[in-house]
């Protein structure tokens, strides 16, 4: 059996890779992909804790499904926003989308 720590380490690495993508990418779609990676890392943690700590209760899996739901909604709205911005300003570079900058 694989120790719980290994799963947590993989999830931590995945989260950090996703955070790098979300913060360093110039393309808005790339930022969104980084966020998806971070949400997936959270799901790995939830399922690993369900399996190793509380397998008799289904709370871990339930929360993973709620995270997947929120991720789907977020991706749909985020990509709609990107397409709308592309139509109006012909750019998907997050450095040029600065209308709300103070």
């Amino acid at each position: 059996m694989v120790p719980l720590t290994w799963y947590l380490l993989v999830a931590a690495a995945l989260f950090c890779i996703g955070a790098f993508g979300a913060l360093a990418r110039r393309n808005a779609v790339g930022v969104l992909m980084g966020i998806e990676l971070m949400l997936n890392a959270v799901n790995i943690n939830l399922i690993a804790f369900w399996r190793y700590v509380g397998v008799t209760q289904m709370t871990g899996q339930l929360f993973a499904i709620f995270v997947i739901t929120v991720a789907a909604a977020e991706a749909a709205v985020g990509l709609a926003l990107i397409i709308s911005i592309y139509r109006q300003r012909s750019t998907v570079n997050v450095e040029e989308i600065d209308t709300m900058k103070g």
Binding site: M1, V2, L4, T5, W6, Y7, L8, L9, V10, A12, C16, I17, G18, A19, F20, G21, L23, A24, R25, R26, V29, G30, L32, M33, G34, E36, L37, N40, N43, I44, I47, R51, Y52, V53, V55, T56, M58, Q61, L62, A64, I65, F66, I68, T69, A71, A72, A73, A75, A76, V77, L79, A80, L81, I82, I83, S84, Y86, V92, N93, E95
Partner: protein, 163 residues
């Protein structure tokens, strides 16, 4: 055997995730993202969460990746492939990511987790469904409202403005 499977799956997942964030072409990044999602589904199967693994393949590989590829196709041409991939702060962000990982790894390996290994109950998926319409019925309904709102919102935001 399980250890070998775990190591192979996590190496594939992490390598693909790294390619997602460093790939020059956004389209290639999206294809690497599909591989990452498959690797994570494999990890879920290793954890005996078969239902979540199927949901992962259906929703992430089937829906979200397709949506992302559509968005890349629709916004193509503006980002020329020779342009810079990262913004000016990427060095700082890479350092931040490395420090965060070291911090998380230190916490994860030093904490004594209350591991209580037991066999997965045979009726796990029935219980999952029962919980959804039982003690978690309110969050379940709120999630469905959220999905409807997101769908309507996405249509309204992405609609062609006639003016």
């Amino acid at each position: 055997m399980q250890q070998v499977m775990f190591i192979v799956l996590s190496l594939v997942t992490l390598a693909a995730a790294l390619m997602v964030v460093i790939a020059r072409s956004m389209f290639r990044a999206a294809l690497w993202l599909v591989l990452t999602f498959f690797g994570i589904a494999g990890l879920f199967i290793l954890l005996h969460a078969e239902f979540i693994a199927v949901a992962q393949v259906l929703i992430y590989v089937g829906a979200i990746s397709t949506l992302i590829i559509f968005a890349i196709m629709l916004s193509r041409g503006v980002m020329d492939p020779d342009a810079r991939r990262f913004n000016d702060q990427w060095g700082v962000v890479a350092g931040f990511g490395a420090v965060l990982f070291v911090l998380l790894a230190a916490v994860v390996t030093r904490t004594r987790w209350p591991v209580a290994l037991a066999d997965v109950p045979a009726d796990a998926i029935q219980r999952l469904g029962g919980d959804f319409v039982g003690s978690y019925v309110i969050p379940f309904e709120v999630a469905s409202v959220l999905l409807v709102v997101a769908m309507i919102g996405a249509i309204i935001i992405a609609r062609e403005q006639e003016s």
